[in-house]
């Protein structure tokens, strides 16, 4: 037994990598479904957005890059889909340069139109960019949503939007038009004119800054989706009521998919995630048993 434990402690790390690789890969092909329980954190977020009246305007702050795509992109897609289905209008911004591009990618992904474009009153409208189709619902650029792009300056951008959105974002990302020319921006002069902020964050600047500046200073309700690494850092804001809901990592994304009624990638990935977690827990337990077993033996020998 002692020898087995010693071998376990000296196991080649590449074997562990292989086991994790298999634990993550195999479930992708099996199509297993697992039941996901919606936690209070995600329910609070859903309650907050579902209580918004039709036509409300939401700021979607995409503060992440492709590195965090597996965790945050499903949240963006679920959020946009829900907003469109419930006639909630949204303004996309990013404190990270690639954030607004990730938002565009999410919109293309949720678009269900088969055609590439449509000609309407002489204007060519491209599906996925000018016009998003989700089931029987549609969202049109400039009226139901707009992408204002990235602005450098981190938390100072939020601070500036507190007094003037125009001062922080003069024009939009897609057309380069002044923001006041868009229907959705009418009456949106400062941050407090928004009904809700949906922040997707992978680090700095992100949820912490939105809470400190937008929530506590300008009193706008904010719900957040975070990478799992960042989630423990922002949990205190949830308990204190400064955050209106929190989705942490892929699990949070899967819960959001369940609560909005459209199971997608995050739900599918949770099987792989669960399998890998089981193996990690097993490794920790076996490693500890082996460590204490061999330590006792060597102590007696000594």
């Amino acid at each position: 037994m002692q020898r087995i434990f010693e071998k376990l402690l000296a196991i080649d790390r590449r074997i562990i990598f292989l086991v994790i690789f298999l634990a993550l890969s195999i479930p992708i092909f099996l199509g297993i479904k697992i039941n996901i329980k919606v936690t209070d954190e995600v329910q609070i977020f859903y309650d907050a957005i579902s209580s918004l009246p039709s036509g409300s305007r939401i700021m979607v702050a995409c503060d992440y890059d492709p590195g965090s795509e597996p965790e945050l992109q499903p949240m963006a897609e679920s959020g946009f889909r829900y907003f469109i289905q419930n006639n909630l209008r949204f303004v996309i911004i990013g404190l990270w340069p690639q954030g607004p591009m990730q938002a565009n990618k999410a919109l293309v992904s949720i678009n269900e139109a088969k055609d590439e474009f449509i000609v309407e009153n002489g204007d060519t409208l491209y599906f996925g960019t000018d016009l998003i189709v989700v089931g029987p619902d549609t969202a049109r650029y400039g009226i139901d949503f707009v992408n204002l792009g990235f602005q450098a300056g981190n938390e100072l951008v939020i601070q500036r939007m507190g007094s003037s959105i125009k001062a922080a974002f003069a024009s939009d990302l897609r057309l380069g038009k002044p923001i006041e020319e868009f229907d959705i921006m009418r009456g949106l002069n400062q941050l407090s004119d928004f009904d809700f902020i949906f922040n997707l964050s992978a680090g700095y600047p992100g949820t912490v800054e939105w809470v400190q500046f937008a929530v506590d200073r300008f009193h706008v309700a904010c719900g957040a989706g975070n990478t799992a690494v960042q989630a423990p850092q922002v949990y205190p804001y949830l308990d204190s009521g400064q955050l209106s809901g929190l989705m942490g990592g892929m699990k949070g994304a899967a819960e959001l998919e369940k609560v909005v009624g459209h199971k997608a990638k995050a739900t599918m990935f949770m099987v792989s995630q669960t399998a890998a977690h089981i193996f990690v827990i097993l490794f920790i337990v076996i490693g500890n048993i082996a460590y204490f077993a061999t330590r006792g033996k060597s102590g007696r020998k000594g």
Partner: protein
Amino acid sequence: MHLSTEFGVWVAAFLTIGITSFLYKDNPFYKFCEALFVGISAGYWFVSLYFQNLLPKLFDNLGITRMLGLSEDNGAIQNILAGQWDERIWYVLAGILGLMMLMRLFPSIGWISRWPLAVVVGSTSGLYMITYFQSNFLSQLQKTVIPLIDLNKISALAAGGSLDNYFAAFLGNLVLVIGTLTGLAYFYFSKEHKGAFGFSAKIGIYFLMVTFGASFGYTVMSRMSLLIGRLYFLFGDWLGLIR
């Protein structure tokens, strides 16, 4: 199996495999991908910062691009020369501070870069002094002043509730208060950690350990998620094995 025909997908797959090959052992394939990543990142940030910061905020606002014939819009310099006050001229101060920062490239006058650095440190401290005090101290402190046993939740339990509700009603607030007090005790170093005080500090350590454990668990989850994303890309987008 439907292999991707997109060049970009093949490049991404090549780089993904190259970077993960380090898990087996260090190799030239990994080194190449790593160097490429570092180089492209540096180039991307340089271009991004120029076109999103320097060009619109400094050169356009001051009117330097107008002077060079690269823009048709007047900047602050043109407006002021025409007798019209333009507050964007203050960007010149930011430009000067930026130039002073670059002086660190020349060792003999490198000390000049300390001045703009002092401005950054001073203004950031001032900004955060208020926000952290409000968000991370006052608000958190306010929400720690709570009844040990939540009577509202207990009355809600009369209508039936799950184990979560029982925890929320009887233990949730208690854990929060004990965790806060013992955690503070651990970080109080003006009194020796002995006796009852030492015991509470030790309880505080356990709370900290649970916190670190939760953080570690979340980190593991996050890294697994990223790997799942890459595997899904390899099996789905690249090899076409997933419908």
